[in-house]
Symmetry: C2
Subunit: 183 residues, 2 copies
C-alpha cells in the first residue's frame, strides 16, 4: 500500500543513523496530506539466555547502557542496526558478539515489531539466543555499557517495577517468558 | 546527565509531530560526538478491558489502523501524543475517547517505556482501562481505524504468531496479561 500511497517524498536530512523525509501521502479515503517519516534500516535485538530457557529461572544477560536520549543509563538487551544488505539473524549474531563478546549455538526468531509506527518505519527483529559461549566485548567508541547476568524472574520484576524502561527489552523478556515453554 | 552531556543543540527540522536536532554531546568518558535525536512530546497508550481483567479470558478492544510507515494496517491499542502541558493520564482518557468513543471508570498506570532510545526521547505511558462505557469514536481526519473486540487469549496468540506487529501494543497486552493478577 505504501508505494501507492506515496505521491512525493522529500529528503529533509540525511544522517548517520536515520534519515528524515517529508512525504506527500494519499490516505485510504483519497485525501492527501504531508507526513514526517524517519527512515531507519531496521534493527535486531537478542534475549541472551545463559542457561536453558525452559529450566527453572534461567539467567539472562542484560546491558546497562548509557543513552543520551534517556538522560542516563537503561537496562537493555543487546541490539543494533542492520548494515546494508545484512539479514536480521546475521545482525543479531554480530551485535551479540560486539556488545557482549558472546556467541550462540542457537539464534531463534521470536517476533518482529514496529518500534513506533506513527513516525518511523523502523522494525526490530527479536531473537532468543541459547548455547552461549562468553568472550570479550568490543563495543563501539560511542557505546558505554556494562554487562549484568540476572535471573529471568528478577528481570520480570524489574519490568513490573519500572526499572526496565526500554520497550524492546521489556517486550523481548516478556515474549520469551510467556512463550518459551511452547518452543 | 543529559543537561551536562549536551554541549550544543542544532534544530534541523521543526515538524508537525516531531522535531529533529543534531546535538554535540559529551560522552561518559569525556569524548565528544554528534548525535541525531528526534524530540518527541511523549505519548500515552491504553489497554482497554471490556470485562474484568482478572476474570477468565477478558475481552480487549483493539484498533486496526492504517499506518503509512508500515505500508498497511496494524493492530494497535488506542494511543496518541501528549498535548503541551497535558499529563499522561489525561492524554490516555482523551485518546481513548477520540479513537474508540469509550470512557473508563479506572485508568491504571502500567509502566512507561522509551520506544526506541537510540534516536528519540519519546516515552510512552501505558495504562490499563477498566469500567468501560462505549460511545461514538471521533478519529482525526488523518486517522483510519476500525474497532475489534478480541479475547485476551486470542490477542496473545496474535502476538506469538506475528499478527500483532506494533511494539507498544504487544508490550501493553503482555504486561497486562503477565501482571494483572497481582493488581
Amino acid at each position: 500500500m505504501s508505494d501507492d500511497a506515496r505521491i512525493k517524498s522529500t529528503r529533509i536530512h540525511t544522517g548517520r543513523v536515520i534519515n528524515l523525509d517529508v512525504d506527500l501521502v494519499r490516505y485510504p479515503n483519497g485525501a492527501t496530506g504531508e507526513l514526517e517519516i524517519i527512515r531507519h534500516p531496521g534493527a535486531s535485538a537478542i534475549v541472551p539466555f545463559l542457561s536453558d530457557p525452559a529450566g527453572a529461572d534461567p539467567q539472562v544477560l542484560l546491558l546497562k547502557q548509557y543513552r543520551y536520549a534517556a538522560s542516563g543509563t537503561l537496562y537493555e538487551i543487546p541490539a543494533g542496526r542492520l548494515e546494508p544488505g545484512e539479514l536480521p539473524e546475521a545482525c543479531a549474531r554480530r551485535e551479540l558478539l560486539e556488545e557482549t563478546g558472546c556467541t550462540a549455538t542457537s539464534m531463534t526468531p521470536l517476533t518482529s515489531m514496529f518500534t513506533t509506527p506513527g513516525f518511523t518505519d523502523e522494525r526490530i527483529h527479536l531473537f532468543l539466543a541459547t548455547g552461549i559461549t562468553r568472550g570479550e566485548a568490543r563495543p563501539e567508541a560511542d557505546e558505554f555499557m556494562e554487562l549484568e547476568s540476572i535471573p529471568l524472574s528478577k528481570a520480570l520484576q524489574m519490568i513490573e517495577r519500572g526499572e526496565i524502561q526500554d520497550a524492546k527489552t521489556a517486550l523481548g523478556l516478556l515474549f520469551a517468558a510467556g512463550f518459551r515453554s511452547g518452543r
